[in-house]
Amino acid sequence: MKLITLYADHSLALLSSLTTHIMLVIVSVGLGTIIAIPLAVLLTRTKRVAAIVLAIAQAVQTIPGLVMLGFALVTLGIGKAPALATLTIYSILPILHNTYTGITEVLEAYTDAAVGIGMTKSQVLFNVELPLALPAIIGGIRISAVYIVSWATLAGMIGAGGLGDWIWTGLATYNTDYILLGAIPSAILALLFSAAIGMLQRLLTPRGLRRDS
């Protein structure tokens, strides 16, 4: 009961935090996608380099978010820019990984047929490899978005705004209510992002590739 009144009291401020939060997620995952997909495509062309790059990316992913944000704070200062930079880096790996696997797992029969009937390399990529890898790629974006929703709360620490602000305030003042005020919308947001991208995935998957068709 108390929580609901609290939400009502802070509704405007919360809404603004929520908007900022969503913005953080969309921008960083968007940038991550723009970087990850072409990078993954390049990696599929040089398998030896790919193994190294994917290993490095995986290693970066294991660095705790807090450490990365701290590092960004020291090097880039306070504000949205360092937060977005960090979140973008984190959003890359799942998309990179899924795109790479998605493309390399396209059956040779399809690429062989594509080359054999006279497609150029880029035609094979855009007509065959990417469409067939699309479900995997969107799957990567989905994982990435869910992660970033929760990591974006950490970004509040370096002044990025968003739902993280409420959590950090709660932590600083030993106020559970404030923590929940930030945590619950953030959890719901993660689920909503997952569901929305899931729908997008279904919509974008060609009918011929849908397993339930």
């Binding site: 009937i117 006279g118 067939l132 590739l209």
Partner: protein, 375 residues
């Protein structure tokens, strides 16, 4: 129109193609066949430059293929692969239109092509054009695979074991369709298979390969009657000397060639000695010109024979004979009716070609079914 001149391909120290040379004429249905690893698929893929040879040249219409842009070359050559390779993210129409689209045909041209081609294989446009490959049966999918290869009207179509994964009934009907389409559209088709049935059925010319070399290039009939060497003969197996229903057609297929003969002037004791030595109980009697006269059995000599007499006195001229090119069925009927359990096979000049016994029949049938049998 397709010419290979001393084409050689090596992977490391392994030679895949060894100075392969041949010419395929326009409008021919050529089947490449041989044991796995013989180089047949490599040969096929060298034509559209999916594989570049180490040495030698491939010419299409007199032009060296390596002097043409590989992508443009491939658009002028249809290509069908075993695993079908229809793009699962595209509808039937989109799949068929892939090459026309690459060649910048208009959408309405693409649609017309799809319509015409689907009619060719009795798949109504309205019903099938907008389906995805996963919504088609295996046989329908490979039909579309073939149509896709034909879409931009290439004069040459390459097919790499296209029907290998299909069940026998579907394969049969697709073979027929492809043959019909090839005749109708006058395509030059190069077709890889390891199935001799398929090769005999489809080919105008069969190229038999082994270890990167061509062992024989011949029409199906010629290969059946004069297989160049034991590998091909073995590969032909039950097809060698075979009739329409799968069984050997001529009497000679059932005979064994080793026949013990005796000259009509031989003496009784000499003949008996000869039978004992060969462990047989009759001999075939011949004259000076090796012409067949009849047979002489050990019983006849024992019953009526006297020492020192010539065997022509005891000759049995009622033994059943057939000409070597007679119908096999006739020979087998005679064998079953014969009291001696054998039938003599004669050449056209009435010399002895062989003898059909129950054992030789069993062996011939066995070979027809399962290939070479050690005896």
């Amino acid at each position: 129109m397709i010419e290979f001149r001393n084409v050689t391909k090596r992977y490391g120290s392994v030679t895949i193609l060894d100075e392969v040379s041949f010419t395929i004429k326009r409008g021919q249905f050529v089947v490449l066949i041989g044991p796995s690893g013989c180089g047949k698929t490599t040969t096929l893929r060298t034509i559209n430059r999916l594989i570049e040879p180490k040495a030698g040249t491939v010419f299409i219409d007199g032009k060296d293929v390596t002097l043409q842009n590989a992508v443009e070359l491939r658009r002028k050559i249809g290509y069908v692969i075993q695993q079908i390779g229809l793009f699962p993210n595209m509808t039937v129409q989109q799949n068929i239109s892939v090459v026309p689209k690459l060649l910048k045909y208009t959408p309405s041209q693409c649609q017309q092509i799809t319509r015409d081609l689907l009619t060719l294989v009795d798949m109504p446009y309205e019903e099938h054009a907008h389906k995805y490959p996963s919504e088609l049966s295996g046989g329908q999918q490979q039909r579309i695979g073939v149509l896709r290869a034909l879409a931009a009207s290439p004069p040459i179509v390459l097919m790499d074991e296209p029907f290998g994964a299909l069940d026998p009934v579907t394969r049969d009907s697709l073979q027929e369709e492809v043959k019909r389409i090839q005749r109708k559209l006058k395509k030059t088709i190069v077709f890889v298979t390891h199935d001799m049935d398929e090769a005999l059925r489809l080919a105008d010319t069969i190229i038999f390969m082994d270890q990167g070399r061509i062992l024989q290039m011949a029409s199906p009939e010629e290969m059946l009657h004069k297989p160049a060497g034991p590998i091909i003969k073995n590969f032909l197996g039950r097809h060698a000397e075979e009739g329409a229903n799968g069984a050997p057609k001529r009497a000679e297929a059932f005979m064994k060639k080793r026949v013990y003969t005796v000259h009509e002037s031989a003496k009784t004791l000499e003949s008996i000695e000869r039978m004992r030595k060969r462990e047989v109980n009759s001999l075939v009697v011949i004259d000076d010109d090796d012409h067949y006269l009849g047979t002489v059995s050990i019983e006849a000599i024992k019953e009526r024979g006297k020492a020192g007499r010539v065997i022509s006195e005891y000759i049995n001229t009622d033994t059943l004979t057939v000409n070597r090119s007679d119908d096999a069925k006739e020979a087998l009927d005679k064998l079953l009716a014969s009291s001696e359990n054998y039938v003599i096979v004669l050449n056209d000049d009435r010399s002895v070609a062989g003898i059909i016994t129950r054992t030789s029949t069993a062996k011939a049938m066995g070979e027809a079914l399962w290939g070479e049998i050690e005896s």
